[in-house]
């Protein structure tokens, strides 16, 4: 089997006036390895290639990137899922400033996460043991709390590309709903009033790129729909 042809986005602000695509030939010995393995093989050829990685099992969210046009996590994406005609094109997550090569500045993404006050708020004094929550109430957090902040969703969202300062984006809104849906949280009205403007939530156009790319199989569009319903109910 011939070598895999990988084309990877390169940009080093110290030496490059503009980004460019660099071609690599990678011998995977015919194995269906993960894209992250391929990146490591390329780094052995060129130690300067920069990318983030940590857990290498899809739970830390470090290695979100764009692989043959689709966002995902390099560590849990086997070549067979993305490679076409023996070619793989790797680019950083779209829409965020590039620091170097595959490494983007996640500042805006984190800022939107922080904006939704991503922590439980409860104005009653805690009991001596845990707060009780029924299994049914707890079930409502499934599909929400598992977010790993990889930014695959928000950086595939056209509304976030155009308004990253004002639209919270799918990841932040999923977490917003995670706390709105939590029976232990008492800040519902404050949370909703922080989202009432035309941009924070309502810029979502239901394009559903977020759902298509989420490596954890989560559904931000549905969560955004629930927030909309709560906002509309709140307004009437």
């Amino acid at each position: 089997m011939s070598n895999l042809q990988v084309s990877v986005y390169r940009y080093n602000p110290e030496t490059d006036s503009a980004p460019y695509m660099q071609e690599f030939q990678v011998d995977t010995k015919g194995r269906d390895v993960m894209v992250l393995d391929v990146l490591h093989m390329m780094k052995e050829q060129d130690s300067g290639l920069a990318f983030r990685r940590s857990c290498r099992e899809g739970v830390c969210g470090s290695d979100g990137m764009n692989m043959n046009g689709k966002n995902g996590l390099a560590c849990i994406t086997p070549l067979s899922d993305v490679v076409k005609n023996n070619k793989l094109v790797l680019r950083p997550l779209p829409g965020l400033p590039v620091i170097r090569d595959m490494v983007v500045d996640m500042g805006l993404f984190y800022k939107q996460y922080e904006r939704i006050q991503p922590y439980l708020q409860n104005d009653t004094p805690p009991p001596a043991i845990e707060r009780l929550q029924s299994p049914e109430e707890r079930d409502k957090l499934d599909g929400l709390y598992e977010c790993i902040l990889c930014a695959c969703c928000s950086t595939s969202c056209p509304s976030f590309w155009w308004n990253p300062e004002k639209f919270v984006g799918p990841a932040g809104l999923l977490q917003s709903y995670r706390f709105l849906a939590d029976s232990r949280d008492t800040a519902t009205s404050e949370r909703l009033s922080n989202l009432e403007d035309p941009f924070s939530v309502f810029r979502c156009r239901g394009i559903m790129n977020c759902v298509a790319v989420c490596p954890k199989g989560l559904n931000p569009t549905r969560a955004i729909g629930k927030i909309r319903e709560m906002l509309l109910a709140d307004a009437t």
Binding site: E14, E57, R100, L141, E146, D182
Partner: protein, 590 residues
């Protein structure tokens, strides 16, 4: 190097995993000027990968549960070299720390009565081993570490903790009196190197599983805090004690939680036999991890392994049914499909013992204060230096950690360190400032890499190191093989000292980070190798063919590795808990 910019804090916490974030939260609430310095964005830390849960006697599953039973299990699990005052503190303070996490929002799974769900884990018992299997591990499905780490990060945001994310700590700075007064650190994004001044420096840098070729650990687990402390001349405790988790996915090394066996899964050999019944007739698949891992290796060595090469066994889960798998072990179903190409609802998962956890580390007391020992065997506090979590050796895990005790360790002792430092800062701390030459010594190794002009490649040296450790310091050990390993490591140390960093650029230079990490892997590997060679007995995770028995006469002791002389000394284990009777060493069976 007076042109270095300096940053000044009351306390600097190096590492943004569970232990670091829990310590930071305590200090942020106190209003002290604190920062967390982490080489990755905090939620990318390895705590995120913890699956099964946090073991603690919160008396939810069993209203009569008792922290003393948990303490007994912990001491027995550690093969009697856990410090009993520390185990007592962890198990008795644990419920408070777990309830706090729940109050912070951690989305624990629940029982019908609304309390936190607890599952059985290995080595757990009721009534001091007399009352059968306990279910003491509090879980958020099989994503407890993720839920815990995110909850702690979120609460640090709530309390305005300062974060230096994607900063790398290079080395500790010591003053003329030998106190730790901060560190040298590098901003990864810009390459800027700064002098961080602090009255309290907390090493919460986690484990170092990447010294082995096959590990469940994240790629970032390179023992940075251990390396820093060793280079600063401080001793390491019980470094021979490495836990091999029974169920790493064959080939990939990714972890499959012990919670699978807690929920009723079990291991089988090529004949389909549930072989743990032979090795641990009572606890079976829920014996201590060291016991299960050894039994698996015995099966493989005796020709009953599975697969073409007969080099692994199977974890059978299909009998649990899709509902239990979907509800209690959803992450495992995902990981198994991705990394083993197996749907556990239909087929068993190929697994093999895989390096998982470092029981050893920086010796500390229960307040997280680092400890060293003088010639006459007396303990001394190291001024300014603290450690908590996997990087520390309090020691609650002794020679073998129980499942679910690592998450408890990191929240209990992260919290304890935070509280102690707050008190110490209130009482007033004054150390001598570091001099120019103190700072220069801490700059030595980054300067060495930056000036390297040729030499061997970093990834190749790292791979060699990992192979040496895998070959000579695995589940079973013996002298000849370990001597070879020690010799090879000595040569490797020379080669690493002359290795080459080709990329000298500043912006997000990951090659430089990997070079600095390689030095740390080397320090951890050497300490491990010498400690393993010198401890001439088998205890907990340290199993020797040539010394197959536990030797309480000579080795009911901690080992203490001193980097300057590369000597191994013995340190007394604490057998004096404050509120319960001492658990006397017994023969350890499951």
């Amino acid at each position: 190097m007076s042109n270095l910019r300096s940053l000044t804090f009351d306390a600097i916490i190096i590492g943004g995993g569970g232990a670091g974030l829990r310590a930071a939260l305590e200090l942020a609430k106190s209003g002290k000027k604190t920062a967390v310095l982490s080489k990755v964005f905090p939620t990318r830390s390895h705590t995120v990968s913890a699956q099964g849960g946090i073991t603690c006697a919160i008396a939810s599953d069993d209203p009569n549960d008792d922290w003393r039973w948990h303490m007994y299990d912990t001491v027995k699990g550690g093969d009697y070299i856990a410090d009993q005052d520390a185990a007592e503190y962890m198990c008795s303070e644990g419920p408070k720390a777990v309830f706090e996490l729940e109050h912070m929002g951690l989305p624990f799974s629940r029982l019908d009565n609304g309390r936190i769900y607890q599952r059985p884990f290995g080595g757990q018992s009721k009534n001091f081993g007399e009352g059968g299997q306990a279910a003491r591990t509090c879980a958020a499905a099989d994503r407890t570490g993720h839920a815990l780490l995110h909850t702690l990060y979120q609460n640090n945001l709530k309390n305005d903790t300062v974060f230096l994310n994607e900063w790398y700590a290079v080395d500790l700075v010591k003053n003329a009196s030998g106190d730790v007064v901060g560190c040298i650190a590098m901003c990864i994004e810009t390459g800027e190197v700064v002098h961080v001044k602090s009255k309290a420096t907390v090493l919460a840098t986690g484990g170092a599983g990447r010294i082995y070729a096959s590990t469940t650990n994240a790629l970032i687990n390179t023992g940075d805090g251990i390396g820093m402390a060793l280079r600063a001349g401080f001793p390491m405790q019980d470094m021979e004690m490495w836990q091999f988790h029974p169920t790493g996915i064959y080939g990939a090394g990714t972890l499959v939680t012990e919670g699978c066996r807690g929920e009723g899964g079990y291991l089988i050999n090529k004949d389909g036999e549930r072989f743990m019944e032979r090795y641990a007739p009572n606890a079976k698949d829920l014996a201590g991890r060291d016991v299960v891992a050894r039994s698996m290796v015995m099966e493989i060595l005796e020709g009953r392994g599975c697969g073409e090469k007969g080099d692994h066994v199977f974890l059978k889960l299909d009998h649990l049914g899709e509902e239990v798998l979907g509800k209690r072990l959803p992450g495992i179903v995902e990981l198994s499909k991705t990394f083993a190409h197996v749907d556990p609802a239909k087929d068993p998962i190929p697994v093999v013992p895989t390096c998982h956890y470092m029981m050893g580390g920086i010796p500390t007391n229960i307040h997280g204060q680092a400890i060293t020992m003088d010639e006459s065997g007396n303990d001394h506090i190291v001024n300014g230096l603290f450690a908590c979590g996997e990087a520390a050796c309090v020691s609650v895990h002794g020679a073998n950690r129980l499942g679910g005790n690592s998450l408890l360790d990191l929240v209990v002792f992260g919290r304890a360190a935070g509280m102690f430092i707050e008190g110490a800062l209130n009482a007033g701390i004054e150390y001598l400032d570091a001099s120019e030459s103190d700072i220069e010594s801490a700059m030595k190794r980054i300067t060495r890499w930056n000036e390297s002009e040729g030499g061997e490649s970093i990834p190749e040296l790292k791979a060699e190191l990992q192979d040496i450790m895998q070959t000579s310091f695995g589940v079973f050990r013996e002298e000849k093989n370990m001597l070879e390993g020690v010799d090879k490591l000595a040569l490797l140390r020379e080669r690493i000292a002359n290795a080459h960093l080709p990329d000298k650029s500043n912006a997000f230079n990951t090659a430089r980070v990997e070079a600095l990490e390689l030095d740390n892997l080397m320090e951890v590997a050497e300490a491990t190798a010498i400690a393993a060679l010198e401890r001439k007995e088998s205890r907990g995770a340290h199993s020797r063919y040539d010394y197959p028995d536990r030797d309480d006469v000579n080795w009911l002791k901690h080992s203490l590795f001193f980097p300057a002389t590369k000597e191994l000394k013995k340190r007394d284990v604490n057998f004096k808990p404050k509120t319960v009777d001492t658990f006397e060493p017994k023969v350890r069976t499951y």
